[in-house]
């Protein structure tokens, strides 16, 4: 007989909830609806793959510090992989976003899936922007001095100082990646939970349009 004290434990409750919401066949599915057959679906997984590359190349750059790549051939190459990972990431993400828009992918209780994806996109813009500010070269100087006016005009410049390299670097390598990765995790979990949105169809019987 189950001990009621165990049943009331937070850990037990959480485990049962996770098990109920995410059975193994949802987390690691081996089938999917037959309508999921288009090249547009590729861009979601490509975005995730590019994000893996962005994080990996960023971590590689972090090992030797923010200015190493200016004086090392290997460092410069790794910086190039970081840049191109970001370009591929945004390319894939923008197509993914437009594709999902034209599929009206928020239908059927999937609005949170859409919103977490959209906020991840906006967060990624911030992450990329602070990356450009952290290059420690002419480009980062120029972008910082130009961007300050826009950000100051919003009032945010009083706490988010784009001319402060140390602050921007910390936002780039800690805060914004944490937010972006957290949102991405929630986004993917929601996709697994709700599944891929079905095509537009006729109004089912029993409902009125």
């Amino acid at each position: 007989m189950t001990d009621p004290r165990i049943e009331r434990q937070w850990t037990t409750r959480l485990r049962k909830r996770v098990e109920g919401t995410f059975p193994p066949e949802k987390v690691l599915p081996d089938t999917q609806p037959s309508y999921v057959a288009s090249w547009i679906y590729v861009f979601g997984v490509l975005t995730l793959a590019a994000l893996v590359m962005v994080i990996a190349t960023g971590c590689a750059l972090a090992i030797m510090g923010p200015t190493w790549w200016h004086v090392s051939g290997l460092g410069h190459y790794i910086n190039s992989t970081h840049l191109w990972s970001v370009e591929v990431f945004f390319f894939a993400m923008v197509i993914h976003l437009w594709g999902k828009y034209f599929m009206a992918a928020w239908r059927g209780g999937r609005s949170m899936t859409w919103m977490t994806g959209a906020v991840t996109f906006l967060t990624s813009i911030g992450a990329a922007f602070t990356g450009y500010l952290s290059q420690t070269n002419f480009d980062s100087q120029w972008i910082a001095t130009q961007a300050k006016d826009g950000i100051n005009a919003t009032g945010a410049g009083s706490v988010f100082n784009v001319l402060n390299l140390g602050q921007m670097l910390m936002w780039h390598i800690v805060l914004l990646p944490l937010v972006a990765l957290g949102l991405t995790a929630v986004h993917v979990i929601l996709v697994r939970k709700r599944g891929v949105v079905p095509p537009f169809a006729d109004v089912p019987e029993g409902v009125v349009a």
Binding site: P29, D30, T31, P33, S34, Y35, S38, V42, V45, L46, L48, A49, A50, V52, H76, Y77, N79, T81, L83, W84, S85, V88, F102, A104, R107, G108, S111, M115, A118, L122, I125, A128, Y132, N137, F138, Q141, W142, A144, T145, Q146, G150, N152, A153, T154, G155, G157, S158, N161, L163, N164, L165, G166, L169, P198, P199, F200, A201, P204, G206, V208
Partner: protein, 317 residues
Amino acid sequence: MKPTSWNPDVDVAEWTGTQRPYDIIKEGTIAVVFVLIVVLTLSFLFGSPDDKPVTLKQWSNAAPIDFATTAFQELAGTSGVAQYGAPYNNVPGTGQKIGPVSLVNLMGVTIPINAAADFVLRPLGTQTSVPTVTASLATWQHASATQQQTWLTNYAKHLPTAIRDSVMVVTPNDAGPVPSLIGGLTTMAQSGALDNALLSNSTSYFSTNYTEPLLFLSDGTYFAGLASDKHLAGDQWGMMNETGSFPGQAWLWLYTFLYQVSPYSTSSNADALVWATMMLLSALVVFVPFIPGLRSIPRRVKLYRLIWRQHYRSEKH
């Protein structure tokens, strides 16, 4: 069963049809390997840009007149930074607005910059081994505000415009210690000492805060000229460009575009208006599932029929 309302832009009949095999692990692995190959290849073929940063030393040696003119404007309180307002200083009449609200002024001065003290006088105070500078600094600091203003006015009438034997040609005028202060700061900058002095203004030893040197640099015309040569100026869509021919932040195209068109391009509140517009548009994107009309566009445009063409084709048979 009681009929319920149905909105085709919100509701969906969940799929009860056929399934097909799907290997999510294999798909993810192929995607990572594919992106890895693409990234390594692009990096090998094109690399990445890395134009060296501009220093005050470089600026003051390459364009000493521009540097000296900017230094004078900092001392006189007429430079862009000295007249900026919040968050750097209190200047009446400044602060962009959205309607009647100036968010920057609501936040106030949080990164205080006194252009004359921070960019000119304090750095010169570190030049204790240069007697002329020390004496000029003492003369300036012991003079009344009225006297200082008179010197500045007189100096402004004959700003140096030429270099002879690596020295600025200063027309004799009744400008007190001002020529010596400006000349001293230029010499200090040419030696590279000003870069370190401005960087360490705000801290005792360590610093990663480049606010002061970058603000000083952006007040002159030399830095902007270099950026324009690299097609990075605002009217060249500079915010989304990268040095060289590399792709920059292309995803900022709309933000950059707004600055090119009226009313943004002609407004004194351009930055505030562009940001307000972008925030509004971003909110529309995030909340599109709840916005009637906007969420109906996909159904009306029918691009989905191309995306799910196999599904619709199979439905016919």
